[in-house]
């Protein structure tokens, strides 16, 4: 009986210690745990990708010949376009030199594979990437796909990086409307009932972002591009976030708010780039 009471006391003491651990210690513990689980996650991710690829080959087997012909045509077309762009690039360089314009910022991208979606408890919208501090990834770096911004790194271990997605309500991004130059804050709204009828809340899907604090007196239209403003220091300037879907006046009548449709397909992420800012 005494032994049991002692164990019970020790358990509660351990819980109290865990609840009061300094952030740096808990981050280090978590980083170690993520590093240890990463090989399993890599393995599962590898198997799943192989499985998907094989299934896709089987599904597409019939259309392979037609697909090949189409791709050859596309390659030829793209070669022409590249040639045309090379000449444009040369023109551009010449103009830049004439204007004595220098690039103030360069971005270096680190290609990463998504090895896990979501966290254990599912309260946050995150993905885990297979690159960590050993590969030059650190916390608070922007993460993008070829389409646009998807989030920022939060907890980074030696071999993994956790990314808080822009769809998460806890993620806020300083942004700007590319055409009008108006600033605002974009935040995720998590997931919600899709469709018009909000009473059917069983069917959930990603929700558009919410852009807040858009100053009045500016011409803002639906379809305007929303890009990162570069303010705040986490996200480099000019990364595409989405397009304005709907704009309306805030209930306080002090500023506009807008729904922004994301451009990156966050639902089916396989690869992402971590943006290293080089000054």
């Amino acid at each position: 009986m005494r032994h049991r009471a002692r164990i019970t006391g020790l358990v509660f003491l351990a819980i109290v210690i865990l609840l009061n651990l300094p952030l740096s210690v808990s981050m280090r513990l978590k980083a170690g745990a993520h590093d240890n689980v990463a090989p399993f996650q890599n393995m599962v991710s590898f198997i799943m990708n192989k499985w998907r690829a094989n299934m896709q080959v089987l599904i597409d087997a019939r259309g392979v010949v037609a697909e090949r012909k189409k791709m050859q045509e596309e390659v030829a077309d793209l070669k022409h376009k590249v040639k045309a762009m090379e000449s444009l690039e040369l023109d551009n360089d010449a103009l830049r030199k004439q204007l004595e314009f220098k690039k103030r910022q360069e971005m270096k991208m680190i290609l990463c594979e998504v090895i896990m979606r979501g966290d254990m408890s599912g309260w946050w919208q995150t993905v885990t990437l297979n690159r960590g501090t050993d590969d030059g990834v650190f916390s608070d770096m922007a993460v993008v796909t070829v389409d646009g911004l998807i989030g920022r790194t939060t907890a980074v271990s030696r071999h993994t990086a956790e990314v808080l997605l822009v769809t998460d309500p806890n993620c806020k991004v300083a942004c700007r409307l590319a055409r009008a130059g108006v600033f605002g804050i974009v935040s995720g709204q998590g997931i919600r009932a899709s469709g018009v009828d909000r009473s059917l809340e069983m069917f959930y899907g990603p929700q558009p972002f919410y852009m807040d604090y858009i100053s009045k007196g500016q011409d803002v239209y639906e379809g305007d591009d929303v890009v990162t403003s570069g303010l705040g220091g986490v996200y480099p300037k000019g990364l595409l976030i989405g397009k304005v879907a709907r704009i309306e006046e805030h209930s306080s009548r002090l500023y506009y708010v807008a729904d922004v449709l994301p451009v990156a397909n966050i639902a089916s992420l396989k690869y992402a780039f971590v943006v290293q800012k080089v000054e």
């Binding site: 019970t8 865990l18 609840l19 956790e162």
Partner: protein, 177 residues
């Protein structure tokens, strides 16, 4: 030996849970294997073992999660301790018991987690989403709890951690012959 088996089972459950996909339509929840393991020890063992199982399970969940450390440990210990109060009044081997405890515990974990996270920087989600999440985790927990119970009891029998009743041996013999 029993402690080692428990730690091993919890470690495996944590790794498998982290690898399983989450279901958006069920509030972005994963099958709560760690919770099922805690329930197994709560309904099969004494309180001290249950609390240690809850602490370990919570620690594994928190350490692989984005949230603060200790939250899941506290919730799992409370759930385990509460479930342990019913140990002597329910038929643990019954599928209905396992499904019922899985369902209730799943909902309580989400509700407890939400209430605790509200006090942090977590800016959270709508109450309707929390309800969907509660329902989702309850459903998943209801499904995975009997499976986890079956697997751990098989492992425990194999390693001699639980006594095999005479009638079970006779049943096996009859099935075998």
């Amino acid at each position: 030996m029993g402690w080692l088996v428990m730690t091993f089972v919890l470690l495996c459950a944590a790794i498998v849970q982290s690898l399983l996909p989450s279901f958006i339509c069920l509030g972005q929840s994963r099958p709560p294997l760690l919770l099922a393991v805690v329930l197994y020890y709560a309904l099969r063992r004494e309180d001290d073992i249950t609390l240690v199982a809850g602490l370990q399970a919570g620690f594994f969940q928190d350490i692989l999660d984005k949230g603060p450390l200790g939250y899941s440990a506290l919730i799992f210990c409370i759930i385990g301790w509460t479930a342990g109060r019913f140990r002597r009044v329910v038929v643990v081997e019954s599928l209905i018991t396992q499904v019922f405890f899985g369902f209730i515990a799943g909902g309580v974990v989400v509700l407890g987690g939400y209430l605790m996270l509200r006090g942090t920087e977590f800016t959270g989600c709508r109450p309707s989403w929390v309800l969907v999440k509660m329902f989702g985790v309850s459903i998943l927990s209801m499904i995975c709890t009997p499976v986890v119970f079956l697997m751990i009891s098989k492992l425990d029998r194999l390693l001699g951690n639980i006594e095999v009743k005479e009638e079970d041996i006779l049943d096996d013999f009859e099935y075998g012959s």
